[in-house]
């Protein structure tokens, strides 16, 4: 541990302690009469206004994975990684359209999760279970990846270099235990309040980075020229160029479908829906769609850090020494370019930027488990207090699971599953979003479409080899589309299959007069804008 930079480490530690204190204090923030209700613990009392929601939704959109993985991708392959920018542009018009309807119907009926809505809309426990299980399955590796982000900072800091594997993992373990403790206590109020610190750190770091770093690595012209030359050179591992500075015609379909598919998928993730449902008023969501793009701008600038890292010989040497781990590019850039005190702030931005979404994600997964598995299949008459207790415990289990993931299994396995998570979560889109507008689809047709797309998407993703490693699996998120012949995002191709199956089978099932479930919602529910949160009583007791 001799090579740990004391200044950077101290600053990181102080900021971590500050966030921990805020996390615990959050339990008292806007305190409700009783925290023993899932609306309080799991949705922060459904009370967040425009300002708080902006931070909370920003925490969803924008995780350590974006801070680490997007620039790593740009560092590795160039333009193809920049799809994250159009992705975070398209997401706002799309969400603008359907999120207010989802908010209204959930507020009217006291739904806490997207699967609650599906259950009420289609009267189908099976379809709701599919949506809930997909959500939990897709969220777990996402949490694990937050840990990977923290780990990359600890590695660069020198904390992960001990030969003793317990000592090596200890800092990560402590960080997560502390996070688990205050999430358990404060629920969604903790990430909402700590998101303030997180975002201040991130905005400061990014603005300083974008002003300070380019001059230190030779200026913007040099950065782009250097990237162009490097990306065009041949990668000895694959025998092809590393990438390109501008997306080539052959990559345009992949670029567009990755952006569109990710944008459609983002607000299907349980943690993003949790952020939407926690808002106080219907209009808060739409107002936020106009101010959330500020995060996209930050994301775009962070993405360009990848090219700056490429222009820094010290970073390239560091990445090479780690065995080609491009995830280290940004932390290494901070280490080599910034004075150590500011590097500490940058590290803290990444670490806290991972903890906030990890908290929201574990809460969202816990809500799903509690409402749509525990309550639905194990304990029909669960009281709000029991629900809350179960959700608190599950949030711990989910985090422990993610920790085991990262520590016991290979890191690349976590990344593969994250890739699959994106493919999977998009398959809940037809049930949720189509359901907001029409009851035309038959519940079993939606279930069949979901199943077909899940299986097909998983198989296709499994078959993609890592470039330069024949016989390997989960090497890419894009694949050649049957019939069309273009290379496209697997999630989008699977989504089209999903829709086609659901459409065709709905026609068939309707012709066969197969029994459809009861719909407990009214057309007016979808545009309702009640001022007060629903009364804290179990809503679906009759079903």
């Amino acid at each position: 541990m001799s090579d740990v930079n004391a200044v950077s480490f101290t600053i990181l530690l102080v900021l971590f302690i500050l966030v921990t204190l805020i996390g615990f204090a959050a339990a008292r923030w806007r305190r409700a009469d009783s925290m023993q209700h899932l609306d309080e613990w799991g949705l922060g009392g459904r009370s967040f206004g425009t300002f708080v929601s902006w931070f909370l939704l920003g925490g969803d959109l924008y995780t350590a994975y974006t801070f680490i993985a997007v620039p790593a991708l740009i560092y590795g392959v160039g333009a193809a990684g920049f799809f994250a920018v159009p992705y975070t542009i398209m997401v706002f018009p799309i969400v603008f359209v359907f999120a207010p309807r989802l908010w209204s119907v959930c507020r009217q009926h006291g739904y806490v999760t997207p699967a609650d809505f599906v259950r009420g809309r289609y009267g189908s426990r099976g379809l709701a279970l599919a949506v809930a299980a997909t959500g939990i399955l897709a969220t777990m590796p996402y949490i694990a990846l937050q840990l990977v982000g923290i780990e990359s900072v600890l590695t660069v800091l020198g904390l992960g270099s001990s030969s003793n594997s317990f000592l090596k993992d200890l800092p990560l373990l402590i960080a997560f235990v502390v996070l688990a403790a205050y999430t358990f206590l404060s629920g969604l109020r903790a990430p909402a309040l700590t998101a303030f610190v997180k975002d201040i750190l991130i905005y400061v770091t990014v603005i300083v980075a974008i002003v300070y770093i380019p001059a230190r690595v030779g200026g913007w012209t040099h950065i782009f020229n250097h990237a162009a030359t490097h990306l065009a050179s041949v990668n000895p591992k694959t025998g092809k160029p590393f990438g390109a500075l501008i997306t080539p015609p052959a990559g345009e379909w992949a670029y567009a479908t990755l952006a569109l598919g990710s944008a459609l998928a983002l607000f299907m993730y349980p943690h993003a829906i949790t952020g939407v449902l926690a808002t106080a008023r219907r209009n808060v969501i739409r107002r936020n769609m106009a101010i959330l793009p500020a995060y996209s701008l930050v994301l775009g600038l962070i993405a360009l850090l990848g090219y700056m890292a490429l222009a820094s010989p010290a970073v390239n040497a560091g990445v090479k020494a780690s065995g080609g781990n491009a995830q280290l590019a940004v932390p290494l850039l901070f280490e080599h370019i910034f004075p150590s005190w500011f590097a500490g702030i940058g590290y803290a931005a990444i670490v806290i930027g991972a903890l906030v979404p990890a908290a929201i994600m574990s809460i969202a997964a816990a809500n799903l488990f509690t409402r749509n598995i525990y309550r639905e299949f194990f304990h029909r008459g669960a009281s709000p207090a029991q629900e809350t207790r179960v959700a608190q415990v599950v949030s711990l289990v989910v985090k422990a699971g993610a920790l085991v993931f990262v520590l016991a299994l290979s890191k690349s396995f976590a990344i593969n599953l994250q890739l699959l998570g994106g493919v999977w979560i998009l398959q809940t889109f037809p049930s949720i979003v189509a359901g907001l507008y029409t009851r035309w689809f038959h519940r079993w047709a939606l279930l069949a479409g979901w199943a077909a797309a899940m299986i097909w998407g998983t198989i296709v993703a499994y078959r993609q080899p890592v470039p330069g490693v024949p016989g390997s699996h989960f090497g890419a998120s894009t694949a050649v589309v049957p019939v069309l012949g273009h290379t496209a995002y697997i999630a989008v191709t699977a989504f089209v299959l999903n829709l086609v199956v659901a459409l065709v089978l709905t026609v068939v099932f309707r012709a066969l007069r197969l029994r459809d479930g009861a719909d407990e919602t009214e057309p007016a529910d979808y545009s309702a804008d009640p001022v007060d949160a629903p009364a804290p009583v179990p809503v679906r007791s009759a079903s």
């Binding site: 333009a79 920049f82 920018v85 159009p86 542009i89 398209m90 706002f92 018009p93 799309i94 603008f96 359209v97 200026g219 913007w220 012209t221 950065i223 782009f224 500075l245 501008i246 997306t247 080539p248 015609p249 345009e252 670029y255 567009a256 952006a259 569109l260 106080a280 008023r281 209009n283 739409r286 107002r287 769609m289 106009a290 101010i291 793009p293 500020a294 996209s296 701008l297 775009g300 360009l304 545009s527 804008d529 001022v531």
Partner: protein, 89 residues
Amino acid sequence: MTQPSRSGRHPVITWGVVAVLLAVGVAGTLVVPLYARTAPKLGPFPFFYWYQLAWIPIVAILAFAAYLLTSRTSRTSRGAHRGQRRRDE
């Protein structure tokens, strides 16, 4: 708090305008051949990069315009239907 719809603007027209605004917001960066090129550069930035970054403020403005339009429509229609509302806005 019933507000008569100003200048007789019909909700359907408003929603049509909103749909166009939002569709433009998606299409601007979805059609990759539009911007997969180096020139014209903005300073050292290739077109590919500054074009996409420029769409971020544009989409914010489009979303804000859509927000203003929809909040006015829903206010007038709701006011007409129920005659209640406006508490914490």
